[in-house]
Symmetry: C2
Subunit: 184 residues, 2 copies
């Protein structure tokens, strides 16, 4: 069965990026690429992904900063949706659709594209609205050993979870949660 | 050696209380009182404690709400400091000192009172300043399976940590961190 999964790194105090949209607090950490809840094992089961415009532009700024557009290589070969109301720079050949439709509507397209594979919510503010719409199945976090006190919030909503798995991976505490849906 | 420890429960998104100062998101969770990083084992090594006025008033409101003051029983027999600039209701016989002095100054008094036992930072906004002053040794958290999106922040500062221990206890992910002090 296909799951919609929010898989992300976070600080101990619940920020996925610092106030300057930097992830420098994350990339300094040690982790075992073959260890618990690693990215490789996760992405192998993903068939579609979605992100907000800030995450998209972060990728452009960090992966392609010093290259001309014809040398850009989008890091994912699975279909992706970028939620934005603005005109964003296109990565040539990337399987990306820009959308400003409601997340619940786009979720149907993602589910069709993913088939029996999972849908990865990469990150970005209103994607958390999937939780309220009852469309988010899992939250999988790698918690970095730092507090920031400010930044982009992990999940700006009240969402009830159930702990399904936890393990240490290097410097990180990893945890996988099922989203508990309100009865009815 | 005496350690200054911030021991608290938090939501997955880093709040120690909801916007109404409620802990209802915490008390519904299952945990093993004899399990990893349990309160009993922790408090047995504590010789002094400190909290902010919000935490103090929360205790008064929740433990004593339906009793007259002569029936109040303060839950701790170790010396405690409550940081406040206001006049707060006194619990008869409680070993509490109200203070508006700098946290660094009070920390010396707490250390003297604690001897070779530890100092518990129960919670409250500016006590996190101990971290910046280089006086906080450990952060020990029990992470509840819920996000709130708003509330009282776990630690409103950037503090670098080192993961020393993690384990599951019932519904909670527990983690013990050493505070990494800046060189020099």
């Amino acid at each position: 069965m296909s799951l919609t999964q929010y898989y992300t790194a976070t600080t101990l105090d619940g920020f996925i990026a610092d106030p300057d949209n930097s992830l420098d607090w994350l990339f300094t950490r040690e982790q075992d690429e073959d260890g618990p809840m690693n990215y490789g094992a996760f992405i192998a089961h993903v068939g579609a992904l979605a992100m907000g415009s800030t995450t998209y532009q972060w990728i452009l700024g960090h992966e392609f900063a010093d290259k001309p557009p014809e040398q850009w290589k989008w890091p994912y070969d699975i279909p992706g949706w970028v939620f934005t109301h603005r005109q964003l720079q296109v990565v040539p050949g990337a399987p990306i659709e820009f959308t400003s439709a409601a997340v619940t509507e786009v979720h149907q397209q993602m589910a069709a594209a993913a088939g029996d594979r999972n849908i990865w919510i990469v990150g970005g503010g209103d994607l958390a609205g999937l939780g309220e719409a009852g469309l988010l199945d899992e939250v999988i976090v790698s918690i970095a050993p730092v507090t920031l006190g400010a930044g982009a919030p992990l999940l700006p909503r009240r969402i009830e979870l159930r702990l399904d798995e936890t393990a240490r991976n290097g410097d990180l505490v990893c945890a996988r949660y099922a989203v508990v849906r309100a009865p009815g």
